[in-house]
């Protein structure tokens, strides 16, 4: 296990380095002047020079590269070009708010979608299974901002359930915040539901057809025992992988939802940064999401390896 963890962490360090290199290249892919591109053709030359100095884009490329590599490992992303505040002071609280929203979406989705997946798998190819599969396929294909818009119209405006603005006023209790976060979280859940339900369904169907399940049935175990002890234990491992690797996906989809509901999370922060061409904040946000994604995949891998010794041995080699 130790060897497996070491290997996995080492490969994550390499991926982190590549990640920061890619982000560096996105900013510097075209030769020339970053500040000129940000300010536009009509800006004064002295403003361009000043902005380049502030962004550090007037320094030699190699120095800039070294700085951007350092950032991803020290989590120090420099200063916001717009407000002069350290980028980390902006994006970490925003990430916290996004995480709160994502967590609520997670709590709503995971039990529901796993239950739906199991239910559908046990009635494979019956009408109810087709309904669950097609609904899941459709809802996970729709962009989150579309779902968010529809929920806002139907619930917040027409039915007066939930809030159209997700930012709770200062001093709202944690329970009170729920009311504000309910609709945006629901919008994310709808996108997320189909994905997990389909994966769970596939896993359970696979396990239902496996030899060990037939043996368990033949030796006379009750249906409940077969499901609990044999089918679900084997079927849920791929589901855990899906859940954890889609944490990044969940955060990626959050931009649309946060925009529609005006919620001050990482997505909305990023969009504000786009409108003011705040490159350091944008870079920081991309790197941060990349790191969150990588850590969650790492945790998933460790969890799977912990649950399944076969994988542990296979990967350590």
């Amino acid at each position: 296990m130790k060897r497996f963890i070491l290997k996995r962490v080492a490969s994550m360090v390499v991926t982190l380095w590549l990640l920061s290199t890619i982000v560096f290249m996105v900013v510097n892919v075209l030769p020339g002047n970053v500040a000129r591109k940000v300010l536009g053709g009509q800006a004064l030359e002295e403003d361009v020079v000043r902005l380049n100095a502030r962004l550090g884009t007037d320094r030699p490329l190699l120095t800039q590269y070294w700085v951007s590599i350092k950032r991803v490992f020290t989590l120090n992303f420099g200063d916001s070009y717009k407000s002069q505040v350290p980028v980390s002071d902006i994006i970490f609280p925003a990430l916290g708010r996004s995480a709160k929203l994502a967590l609520l979406a997670f709590v709503i989705t995971v039990p529901l979608s796993i239950a739906a997946g199991i239910y559908a798998a046990r009635r494979q190819d019956k009408p109810i299974d087709r309904v669950i599969v097609t609904t899941g396929l459709s809802t996970s294909a729709i962009p989150e901002f579309v779902t968010a818009t529809v929920l806002l119209v139907v619930f917040a405006v027409k039915l007066d359930i939930g809030k159209a603005y997700a930012n709770p006023p200062k001093g709202t209790s944690l329970l009170g915040e729920l009311e504000y976060l309910l609709l945006p979280a629901l919008a994310m859940s709808i996108a997320y539901f189909g994905y997990i339900a389909r994966m769970t369904r596939a896993g359970v169907i696979g396990a239902l057809h496996a030899d060990f399940t037939r043996t368990a049935v033949m030796k006379g175990l009750s249906e409940r025992q077969v499901m609990r002890r044999h089918v679900l234990r084997n079927a849920l491992a791929p589901t855990i992988v899906v859940i954890s690797t889609s944490v990044g996906y969940l955060i990626g989809g959050i931009i649309g939802v946060e925009t529609v509901f005006n919620y001050a999370g990482l997505g909305k922060t990023m969009l504000t940064a786009v409108n003011s061409s705040d490159i350091p904040v944008l870079q920081g946000a991309v790197l941060l999401v990349g790191i969150v994604y990588m850590v969650s995949t790492l945790l998933a891998d460790l969890l799977i390896a912990y649950l399944n010794p076969r994988i542990r041995l296979e990967r350590a080699q």
Binding site: L19, K37, F145, G252
Partner: protein, 290 residues
């Protein structure tokens, strides 16, 4: 001699199987429904003037009418017919998304073939880079690129295609690994064919199944991503009837109960992505035999 014969018979069997697969795909109702919806939107994109009752930009009633007779989707805050704008708005996303998806698959296939067939350090290095790319959130990177490279369709296409390339490469690589030690590859090697010939003329036709699946799946994600990006401001600017642009242009009025100028373009996006994913799902489940 006998090896050559088995190879040809294996190949013609595969061709037969592939024809059979397409027949199965065309028999699936979800595939038909998806294709019909996509064709309707393609017709709207090609001939908006023939289909739409009014001009998407120039026609103005001067009234913010709710949906009803005359304007079944209502009119927006400047009095333009929402139905006509939804019809005309099909064009942008249907232009950008397929180009991005095809480019992503094209480069992904080349990269995947090289990784899978050449192996060695090429594969080792490329795999690491692919893994780093997979941890990048598509929409976030797109927003960063738009800021540094400027807002244009070209940037959107470039970013989406670049971020799709490693995903496709991973699938193709796995398919190539399953083929590279088969007899027909060995015999091509013994004939003294070049590496490029073996990759593109021998292996490529035999991994077309996963590539077709990947193309349809990527098409769905491309529509999804392009619509999201244009909602976030990377698409054509406001007077344009582009769906994402319309939603972002009008969603602030939702709270005042002017729901229709936002709701109908949003539903248009939903219908298109659902249609594409129904097609992709049909192709995938038949090709992968589930």
């Amino acid at each position: 001699m006998s090896t050559a014969q088995t190879t040809t018979s294996v190949l013609s069997e595969r061709k037969q199987a592939r024809r059979e697969q397409w027949r199965l795909i065309f028999r699936r109702p979800s595939f038909i429904v998806g294709v019909v919806i996509v064709l309707v939107w393609v017709a709207c994109a090609l001939f908006p003037d023939l289909i739409a009752p009014h001009h998407p930009l120039n026609y103005r009633t001067g009234k913010h009418l709710s949906p009803g007779w005359g304007h079944i989707f209502g009119t927006d805050s400047t009095g333009r017919d929402v139905l006509s704008r939804v019809i005309a708005g099909a064009r942008d996303v249907l232009k950008i998304a397929p180009i991005a998806a095809v480019l992503g698959v094209f480069f992904g296939v080349i990269l995947g073939l090289m990784q899978g067939y050449l192996g060695g350090w090429v594969d080792l290095i490329a795999s690491r880079i692919v893994e780093a790319f997979l941890s990048l959130p598509v929409v976030f990177v797109a927003l960063l690129s738009i800021t540094t490279l400027g807002r244009s369709n070209l940037v959107v296409i470039g970013v989406v295609a670049t971020l799709f390339t490693p995903i496709v490469a991973r699938t193709v690589r796995a398919a190539v690994l399953a083929e590279r030690d088969l007899d027909y590859v060995t015999s091509a090697k013994l004939r003294g064919e070049s590496k490029a010939f073996i990759m593109f003329r021998e292996i490529l036709p035999n991994v077309s199944g996963p590539i077709v699946v990947e193309l349809t799946v990527r098409m769905g994600y491309a529509v999804f991503t392009v619509a999201t990006l244009s909602f976030l401001g990377a698409g054509p600017p406001p007077p344009s009837p582009d769906w994402g642009t319309q939603v972002s242009d009008t969603y602030n009025n939702l709270i005042a109960d002017f729901w229709w100028p936002t709701f109908f373009p949003a539903m248009a996006i939903a219908s298109l992505v659902i249609a594409v994913s129904l097609i992709a799902d049909s192709v995938q489940s038949v090709m992968e035999g589930s």
